[in-house]
């Protein structure tokens, strides 16, 4: 029974890591930038979601507002803040996104206060019952898994099945060639940042009931999301989902069977093991990329 519980918890946490990883991977793939501000951006959009929930009294209005705000935020950041440092030395982008992280956290502290507050879950928090025993897996957890899988599926269909997705992939792989073929690469990058931030915003709204809502509450999720993304190969959206699940399960078993305080170390260990076995991550074909 403990195994079942740990597995289910691992899956639901893993999907959260996967969503954050997806947000990082979509941006890395398109612009070769690690968005260190992603954790702060999803914190901010979750605050927006909370404000809308408080105003309207409806969880779902807040949920939609959080995701919409995520899209707008991501697109805005690309257009206004990141555009000037694209195609510049990578360090410029690192500094800009780190600066943005600090700016958003300070701004959120001033606007919303630094004391963590509660955030409502999507559904009930009573676990399902199996064989007369109550599981540590709730309908809210099920919603976490399904909604993130749903987002991943929508992104997959967009990238693989539509001409818009084809143009986005072309812009990510070969921006110069894509421009010569008439693709408006700038717009594709803005759209990509927007979609990535939606994935982040979704993770924020889903995890907030567990970790509470505050300017610094989501910091660990950037680290876990990044770890999951690196495990998956940084370049592969599919890899980030698998990386998220691997990390979620590892950490869940570790906390259940060994010691809860080892979780942070466990993430590091998982990262090291994967990088030693496959330095390019699990789902990247490095050979395909030219210098």
């Amino acid at each position: 029974m403990q195994f079942v519980n740990l597995t289910l918890t691992g899956i639901s946490n893993g999907m959260i890591y996967a969503a954050v990883a997806l947000a990082l991977v979509l941006i890395w793939r398109a612009t070769r930038i690690i968005n260190f501000a992603q954790g702060a951006m999803l914190m901010f959009t979750t605050f927006v979601a909370k404000a809308v929930i408080d105003q309207t009294g409806s969880y779902w209005w807040g949920f939609v507002a959080g995701l919409a705000c995520g899209f707008a935020f991501g697109a805005f950041v690309e257009l206004v803040i990141v555009r000037p440092v694209e195609n510049k030395p990578p360090l410029n982008a690192v500094i800009v996104t780190l600066g943005l992280l600090i700016l958003i956290q300070a701004g959120a502290g001033m606007l919303f206060g630094v004391t963590p507050e509660s955030f409502p879950p999507a559904f009930g928090i009573r676990g399902y019952v199996l064989d007369g025993q109550r599981l540590l897996f709730t309908s809210t957890d099920l919603f976490i898994v399904l909604s993130i899988l749903g987002l991943a599926l929508v992104l997959l269909l967009l990238f693989r099945g539509t001409t818009l997705g084809l143009q986005m992939r072309a812009s990510a792989f070969e921006p110069e060639v894509a421009r010569m073929l008439g693709v408006r690469v700038g717009r594709m990058l803005t759209l990509g940042w927007g979609l990535a931030a939606v994935a982040g915003a979704l993770a924020g709204v889903l995890i907030a009931p567990q970790v509470f809502l505050g300017p610094y509450q989501f910091d660990p999720f950037l680290v876990y999301g990044f770890t999951a993304a690196v495990i998956g190969g940084l370049d592969s959206p599919f890899g980030s989902v698998v990386g998220g699940l691997i990390l979620g399960l590892t950490l869940s078993y570790l906390s259940g069977y060994v010691d809860n305080s080892l979780v942070g170390l466990g993430a590091l260990a998982a990262l090291i093991v994967v990088l030693m076995a496959r330095p390019e991550g699990l789902f990247t074909r490095t050979a395909a990329r030219k210098v």
Binding site: L166, Q167, A170, F173, V177, R179, G182, V185
Partner: protein, 252 residues
């Protein structure tokens, strides 16, 4: 014996059609890659731009398609000024660029590469016709349509970038060294395809080549660039027949 009219162009087309380049200056730092270059590319003809490495050939193409911003000079196409347009808008004027063979998007499939060429036109109805036309012209691509472009040979990649450019139904095709790294037989095949496109579709072609012999075999006009300046501009047949010029600039 009467020569077939279509394959023996005589006079350059009127100045308002085709591509005119006047006083084009492009620099990389202190280096003048193009030093006040004048070139005419008459409509419906193939114009070859020849010259050694570093003569400014690729810079010329990148100035036309908007990837390089010239310091001075004008580029007009069909009577309209196109210098200063962004690359994504140059293609919308009916000018398609064939980058050298490595310009395939290796991560995408052959068919995705081809479809990309036609997307800006937004006409889904034409897409399948155009795809069929390309597979007809380059049967090797048809067999590999679902494979990623990274699996193609050098010759197939060259066919793919040409086919992808043609998917946009251009009036002017810019080609950057299509013979680079290809076997002579494949080069000859590609050159004769260009000749057929000119004769059948009245396609205007600006062909940048180091391989002067193959280019002159199909071109109507030839321009020799030397260190960023136009050294010779002549009918292709004249250049081919002039042993002195050939020795001086083309090395054969």
């Amino acid at each position: 014996m009467a020569e077939p009219a279509a394959t023996a162009p005589t006079e350059p087309a009127p100045a308002t059609s085709g591509l005119q380049i006047r006083g084009l200056l492009a620099t990389y730092g202190a280096v003048r890659a193009l030093d006040h270059v004048d070139i005419d590319v008459p409509a419906g003809h193939i114009t070859a731009v020849l010259g050694a490495n570093g003569a400014g050939k690729t810079t010329l193409l990148r100035s036309i398609n908007g990837l390089v911003r010239p310091k001075a000079g004008t580029i007009t196409y069909g009577g309209q000024q196109i210098s200063g347009l962004k690359p994504e808008n140059v293609v919308r004027q009916g000018i398609a660029h064939v980058p050298e063979g490595r310009g395939v998007i290796a991560e995408l499939t052959v068919e995705e590469n081809l479809r990309l060429g036609a997307l800006w036109r937004g006409k889904r109805s034409d897409m399948n016709d155009d795809l069929a036309r390309m597979y007809d012209m380059f049967p090797a691509l048809a067999d590999r349509r679902k494979r990623t472009a990274s699996t193609l040979s050098g010759g197939e990649r060259q066919m793919l970038v040409i086919g992808r450019a043609l998917m946009s139904r251009p009036q002017l095709l810019l080609l950057d060294e299509p013979s680079l790294g290809l076997a002579p037989r494949i080069t000859a095949q590609i050159m004769s395809q260009l000749g057929a496109l000119r004769d059948r579709d009245r396609l205007t072609v600006l062909l940048v080549e180091q391989n002067a012999r193959s280019a002159l075999a199909v071109a109507d006009h030839a321009v020799v660039l030397n260190l960023g300046r136009v050294a010779v501009a002549a009918r292709a047949s004249e250049l081919e027949g002039d042993e002195q010029l050939r020795h001086a600039y083309l090395g054969f």
